[in-house]
């Protein structure tokens, strides 16, 4: 896709022409809105941090001010507590099944092709079938049962 400045000017989002001058190669042009958003996000976060650094009152602290805010209640214990490994188990299982879903995207964009449909369906069935064994094991072991033990 050869891109000229004219086709960039036709894109309708704020800053398109400006960004187009900077970035004028290939399919990358489609990602200029993402770049614009990224620049705005960095500027917004940076400006707020900078403003609070410049305008914020420094040096006026006392133990109450330094304490963690707990809905107005005086803090009972330290916030630094040791967490149960159960949280980690749920998180790692989430990541593993998340990666399974990642493979569904390239699969889904090809599923519309009629000639390949049966083949793709069977291949994904094998893939998900193997992972289903893992899911079955997780349920059998009661790994996500919170109250157990």
């Amino acid at each position: 896709m050869a891109t000229t400045l004219d086709s960039l000017l036709a894109l309708d989002f704020p800053g398109a022409a400006l960004a187009g001058l900077f970035l004028a190669t290939g399919d990358l042009v489609e990602y200029v809105p993402v770049l614009v958003m990224l620049i705005f996000a960095v500027l917004f976060a940076g400006a707020n941090l900078g403003l609070s650094f410049v305008l914020g009152a420094k040096g006026k602290t006392n133990p109450v001010k330094e304490a963690a805010y707990e809905c107005g209640m005086p803090p009972i214990t330290d916030a630094h507590q040791r967490f149960s490994v159960k949280f980690y188990l749920v998180a790692i299982l989430f990541v593993l099944f998340d990666i399974e879903v990642v493979f569904l995207y390239p699969w889904a964009v090809h599923f519309g092709e009629k000639a390949l449909q049966t083949f793709l369906f069977v291949e994904m069935l094998i893939f998900i079938g193997i992972l289903f064994l893992g899911w079955w094991y997780v349920i059998r072991k009661g790994a996500v049962n919170w109250a157990q033990e």
Binding site: A24, V85, L89, F103, L116, G134, A143
Partner: protein
């Protein structure tokens, strides 16, 4: 001007990585690591690997990062404990590990270069970069079909390992 973008994203990834390894507070290190993941995602976009970039943000900056934070909270390290366990030999060992990594990866790259894996200038001119989900799907369900199916075994191993390690005492 992809070169400029490459330098910006690559540079921010590198800076975030350096900040991540030099912070005293492990949570601050983890947050700088998020910045590194975003910089890397930007580099992937510049290389026209859009799908990999999206997955990088979703899986690494999203999910893997949560795991890192959980490990930090599981261990519940106080700065005092860290000071006690930090030996003066640690920086030396770190530098040794870094040098070893550079040497090994450099040798691997040189081997790959000698084997003719990298395209030469003529090949590069005709090379079409396509990192869209369509292109990845075509390769995944064509040439790399077996690798795709084996990936599910790898994930299964991860699931079993996680359950066995954390639920060892249950019958």
């Amino acid at each position: 001007m992809t070169t400029v973008l490459f330098v910006v994203f690559g540079g921010s990834a590198l800076a975030s990585a350096l900040l991540a390894v030099t912070r005293k507070n492990p949570v601050a290190s983890a947050i700088w690591l998020v910045g590194m993941f975003f910089g890397l995602a930007g580099v992937y976009v510049v290389l026209e690997a859009y799908f990999v970039a999206a997955v990088q943000v979703l899986v690494y900056a999203g999910a893997i990062m949560v795991l890192f934070l959980f490990v930090i909270m599981l261990l519940d390290l106080r700065s005092k404990q860290l000071d006690l366990e930090a030996s003066p030999r640690m920086p030396i060992l770190g530098v040794c590990a870094a040098v070893l990594f550079v040497v090994v990866s450099g040798m691997a790259l040189m081997d790959a270069h000698d084997a003719g894996i990298f395209p030469d200038a003529a090949e590069r001119a005709t090379l079409v970069l396509d990192g869209s989900p369509e292109a990845i799907g075509a390769d995944l369900f064509g040439r790399w079909l077996l690798a795709f199916e084996v990936t599910s075994l790898l994930l299964l191993g991860g699931i079993l390992g996680a359950v066995i390690l954390t639920k060892r005492r249950l019958t």
